[in-house]
């Protein structure tokens, strides 16, 4: 319950934060909302010598539009994302995923960028970000670079963010008018999803014209069910058609086995949840 000793800095700008990172290297740990990091420190599963707090960098907070993209500052809290009218309008899938992310207290404190950078495959934001083709803006000593979602998630708790870099914002292509649903399967509400499916679809007179489907906790990173997406295009938004397309949801996945379910069961769940998520998304 008591973390090991560490030093602490709370830089006021991204530049200062990068400088601190450059100075301390892998001895440092960046804290955003801290809702995943602090439990790890309390259990002494990690003992950084310094913690760099991004909480005082105001420029990292906020939601705005930039042309066809929605821009979410890395330090924007889940609750601010969840209550944002802009996000609801242009990236409803994010709104739906945030709604049941962790619990109220954690949503008040946890951040959008922090959760994505933590890259827990059971986290609720990876699959929606992947499904929406989000772009991750990463600042480093040499300036900023932008990484597409399919390159951002590398492995379990591992992203494209380098040791000397910081995630500063996430840019999400607008999916205005798309229906969305996040179907999460848990045994008790405060646990990580056993499996969840993020689906957003564009319908045209009852026919699915475009579909994006992301999978949570079906492998070491969030996954995209690309085969399902392709199969859905041009299909009527009916139970039968979507059921058929959703059969491929678990293809190529390698989900974990744990106390909540084995790998095969998760694969089965993925197909059922995909169908439900797509139908719910299509139904508005």
């Amino acid at each position: 319950m008591i973390p090991a000793q560490f030093d602490y800095v709370a830089p006021g700008s991204v530049e200062e934060a990068l400088a601190a990172l450059a100075e301390h290297g892998d001895e440092a740990k960046v804290i955003a909302g801290g809702q995943s990091l602090l439990p790890v420190l309390r259990m002494r599963l990690n003992a950084p010598s310094i913690v760099i707090d991004l909480g005082r960098i105001d420029s990292l907070r906020g939601i705005s539009e930039d042309g066809d993209e929605l821009v979410i500052g890395a330090m924007t809290t889940h609750s601010d994302v969840g209550s944002s009218a802009l996000v609801a309008e242009h990236a409803a899938l994010i709104t739906k995923a945030v709604e049941h992310l962790a619990d109220s207290q954690i949503r008040h404190r946890g951040t959008f960028g922090g959760a994505l950078a933590h890259a827990d495959p059971a986290g609720d934001l990876g699959a929606p970000a992947l499904a929406l083709d989000a772009r991750f803006v990463i600042a480093g000593p040499g300036g900023s670079r932008t990484v597409p979602a399919d390159e951002f998630f590398v492995d379990l708790f591992e992203t494209a963010i380098g040791e000397d870099e910081l995630l500063t914002e996430v840019r999400i292509p607008k999916h205005t008018g798309w229906g969305a649903h996040y179907e999460k399967f848990v045994r008790v509400s405060h646990q990580w999803p056993i499996v969840a499916v993020a689906a957003t679809v564009k319908t045209d007179g009852g026919t699915i014209s475009e579909a994006r489907v992301g999978l949570t906790n079906m492998g070491s990173t969030p996954l995209r069910a690309a085969v399902v997406e392709r199969a859905l295009v041009g299909q009527p938004a009916t139970d039968a058609a979507v059921r058929e397309a959703a059969k491929a949801a678990a293809d190529g996945t390698n989900p974990p086995t744990d106390l909540n379910g084995d790998s095969d069961y998760r694969k089965h769940l993925a197909t059922v949840l995909t169908r439900r998520a797509v139908l719910a998304a299509a139904g508005g």
Partner: protein, 823 residues
């Protein structure tokens, strides 16, 4: 004779808001961890990561050299002093009981066992230094799986030569309370029905919300211990007995205690260690566990395999039940650990009229966390077994599960009834409770909906689960405890002090930790003495204030402790009578006491009890030879157990595509005798229900093959939230107990005992038409899903006994491991 019939009921039965609440809702609390004393030192435990290992060396130099560290204690340091943790209940005279040192000396027997203790000036410094203690272990083979341990494949304690601690039997033929079980089963095999099932009571963790904490102040002649315990009196007695310190030199205080559920009845290594450290160092010492430590090292509950053989006639009349249990003690025999299954021995026959009954129980040592009482203690296990198998009998006969119960239960006109265990049930009305429960539940409409869903092949199936239960409460008549070889009595004590201001001070020997004693006791005393509810103060939980007590567990506080109150109050009245007569200048025979007033028969003259109290305090004008006090003590030893009962009905919806479960409705009607405070009773029932439901659906302490607890935090040990549960429909019928004056029966464990089988019966009922006759607890979505679909395999030529549908003896996979296992 019940007391409520011969006096006006004023406070008893009122839904008084609790006296306890004001400070709890404003944060003005005294949890043990709140205490800070001058110079106080903090303890951190170094715990074994191994389930079974030799301790080769404990290197403490680096830790000792750390800043602000005072000392580091190892088992070797205290080997001569620490003795062994007590087991108060050897269930047989030849029980094998391993010695249980507070700090392991040369061997650890479960993962989480303490091997060294760091004492430092701050909790942080202690924790930091604990990381520096270096222990060399030589890993030993560990006895983890209960069934394998019962076969002595690997020994949990090699020096004992066996894992089998004790074998305990009850046989109705041998006891003369019923027929021969073998004959009953043989007869049923030829011309009746025999149902054989094996059920698993998974390992649970009490998971009280307040982690355990203990503070010891040795700075005066008398050593004071504050502890988050249910049992301050038992703790003081055992500290004194084990450590050889005079009881009078130990004061134990249970300040605000945040829940227990049996989990805090233990006398713990942490308490002994903190006591020893404080005595050695002469400074106040504190230890507060983390939640992870609590889940790993505070005692666990349940953990049994139950083999049941039920014999019945062809028309469904049960003629006999045979129970073969193995019960996992964990690494040591805890305070009453071995006795927990024995508490269930008299309850497998439940509310039924069986002719023959046999109960066999083998307790087994393993290299896992020790087990002991968890809410219900033995009785939930028994109720689960019988209520599950009664459903199986109903299914075999194709009749409604309530019909099979009614055919076998004790009718209202048969009370008092002596059961096949020799227990005399004083009162009950199973017909009335069941009828009321069915009505509240809307039983017939739900059955109709279930039929409709089945016929239409709805992907969401409805299941209805039944549990008619009884339990034995009010632990316990001391003579009975003696006959079971228990180490103590079952009485309770109360004192009433009449204060000169007219206020009444009540001291109780039971020790509340959320039950609302202060409120309920005030109601009882207010009525008995005719004083205002507000004028009664209840003190408890401090051996210096409540010098005598047996503490709180086993639904005993009201049924036993409440009776002690009544006795003490009656003594006060009797003491006051001659004083009243003297002051009123009449004969004692003319004094009548009613509603707080001593009146002179046939006149309007009289004195209030408060006036007598003041006059007694002043003692200026008392009759000759009268002791100037009204204060009275009483100790009550119950003459019998009480037997609350009830009918619980649960409806669940099962999503057959995922195995997901939604509880639709839960209704129960409990007969707990007379109710002192319906608000408190409702709270006890609600909370009990959720704990029982949680056993059915969510909770399990899982050890991996190496003996490491996998569900070692609230991330994996799934205590349900508000979002996982529903609101309940609860009601009561009332058959007052005839064995105590208040007519109460006990309610603390009822919900937990009844709900688990109701939920599992509902789950099985929802999917029985898929060929399922059991789903092992916790009924996870995966287990439910696989149970539904295991039959698919059978139909296509697979092994028809595979999967969860097979709950007969000797299932394929007897390993007690959860992962990927649908049993």
């Amino acid at each position: 004779m019940t007391a409520t019939q011969d006096r006006p009921a004023l406070e008893i039965g009122k839904d008084r808001r609790r006296k306890e609440d004001q400070r709890l809702i404003t944060g003005r609390t005294r949890w043990t961890d709140n205490f800070q004393l001058p110079g106080m030192l903090h303890l951190a435990m170094v715990r074994s990561p191994y389930a079974h290992a030799k301790i080769l060396n404990v290197s403490t130099d680096e830790a000792k050299a750390s800043l602000n560290v005072v000392t580091v204690l190892t088992g070797a340091d205290v080997a001569d002093e620490q003795g062994g943790l007590p087991n108060a209940w050897a269930i047989t005279t030849d029980q094998i009981t391993p010695n249980h040192p507070s700090i392991a000396v040369d061997r650890v027997a479960f993962a989480g066992e303490i091997v060294a203790v760091v004492v430092a000036r701050s909790a942080a410094a202690a924790r930091d230094a604990a990381e520096l203690v270096d222990v060399d272990y030589e890993e030993l083979p560990a006895a983890i799986d209960l069934k394998e341990a019962a076969e002595d494949k690997v020994l949990a304690h090699p020096d004992l030569g066996t894992n089998k601690s004790a074998f305990w039997q009850f046989d109705s033929a041998g006891a003369g309370t019923g027929g021969s079980i073998d004959e009953a089963i043989d007869k049923a095999r030829t011309d009746g029905i025999v149902i054989e099932r094996e059920y698993r009571q998974q390992r649970l963790i009490p998971a009280f919300m307040e982690p355990r904490s203990v503070v010891v102040d040795p700075t005066s002649e008398q050593i004071t211990m504050w502890s988050a315990t249910q049992n301050p009196h038992i703790l003081r007695f055992l500290l004194a007995a084990v450590l050889g310190v005079s009881e009078s030199k130990i004061r134990v205080i249970a300040p605000d205690v945040g829940g227990g559920f049996g989990g805090k009845l233990q006398v713990t290594p942490e308490e002994f260690i903190t006591f020893m450290a404080a005595r050695r160092l002469g400074k106040p010492c504190k230890y507060t566990e983390t939640r992870s430590e609590s889940l790993m090292a505070a005692h666990h509950g349940r953990d049994q395999w139950q083999k049941l053989t039920l014999a019945a006639t062809k028309d469904g009349r049960v003629t006999g039940l045979k129970v073969d249990l193995i019960a996992d003690l964990g690494a040591y025999v805890a305070l009453v650990g071995g006795g927990v299954p024995v508490l269930g021995a008299f309850m497998f026959n439940s509310i039924y009229k069986f002719e023959a009954y046999q109960f066999n129980c083998q307790t087994v040592l393993t290299n896992k966390t020790w087990t002991d009482a968890y809410r219900g203690a033995g009785r939930p296990e028994a109720t689960f077994g019988i209520e599950r198998i009664m459903d199986e009998l109903a299914a075999e006969l194709g009749v409604d599960p309530l019909e099979i119960r009614e055919k076998n239960w004790i009718r209202n006109d048969e009370f008092p009834f002596t059961t096949v265990c020799g227990m005399e049930y004083d009162s009950g009305n199973y017909e009335a409770a069941t009828a009321k429960a069915k009505e509240i539940f809307g039983y017939d409409a739900l059955r109709a909906e279930q039929k409709q869903r089945r016929e239409s092949g709805d992907p969401v199936q409805l299941g209805i689960g039944v549990s008619t239960f009884t339990e034995m409460c009010g632990l316990a008549p001391s003579r009975v405890l003696g006959s079971l070889n228990y180490g103590a009595g079952g009485w309770e004590s109360a004192s009433i002090r009449m204060l000169p201001t007219g206020k009444v001070e009540v001291v109780t020997g039971s020790s509340a930790h959320g039950q609302g004693h202060e409120t309920a006791w005030s109601q009882i005393v207010a009525d008995r003495l005719g004083v205002a509810f507000e004028d009664v103060e209840v003190l408890h939980g401090d051996t210096q204030i409540a010098a005598k007590g047996m503490d709180t567990y086993g639904s005993r506080s009201l049924v036993v402790g409440g009776e002690a109150l009544v006795l003490a109050a009656d003594k006060v009245i009797e003491k006051a009578k001659p004083i009243a007569a003297h002051l009123l200048e009449c004969s004692v025979d003319d004094i009548e006491f009613s509603a707080g007033r001593f009146g002179v028969k046939g006149t309007d003259q009289g004195l209030a009890i408060g006036e007598i109290a003041l006059a007694t305090f002043a003692a200026h004008n008392l009759p000759d030879g009268i002791e100037p006090t009204l204060d009275s003590d009483a100790t009550y030893d119950p003459i019998a157990f009480s037997f609350p009962h009830g009918t619980h009905l649960c409806a669940v919806e099962i999503d057959t595509e995922t195995g997901g479960l939604t509880m639709r409705k839960y209704a129960c009607v409990d007969d707990i005798g007379n109710i002192i405070n319906p608000l408190i009773v409702a709270g006890q029932v609600h909370g009990g229900l959720v704990q029982g439901i949680a056993q059915a659906l969510w909770e399990e302490a899982v050890h991996d093959e190496a003996g490491t607890l996998v569900s070692a935090s609230f991330v994996d040990y799934l205590v349900p939230t508000a979002a996982d549960t529903i609101s309940f429909d609860i009601d009561h019928t009332t058959s007052p107990s005839t064995t105590n004056t208040l007519g109460t029966k006990g309610v603390g464990e009822a919900g937990t005992i009844a709900s688990t089988p109701a939920v599992v019966n509902a789950v099985v009922d929802a999917i029985r038409h898929f060929g399922v006759n059991d789903v092992r607890m916790p009924c996870t979505p995966q287990r439910i899903y696989k149970a539904i679909h295991s039959h698919d395999v059978a139909e296509s030529g697979g092994d028809p006994t595979a999967g969860a549908a097979a709950a007969q003896f000797d299932p394929q996979d007897t390993a007690d491991r959860t992962e990927g296992d649908v049993q």
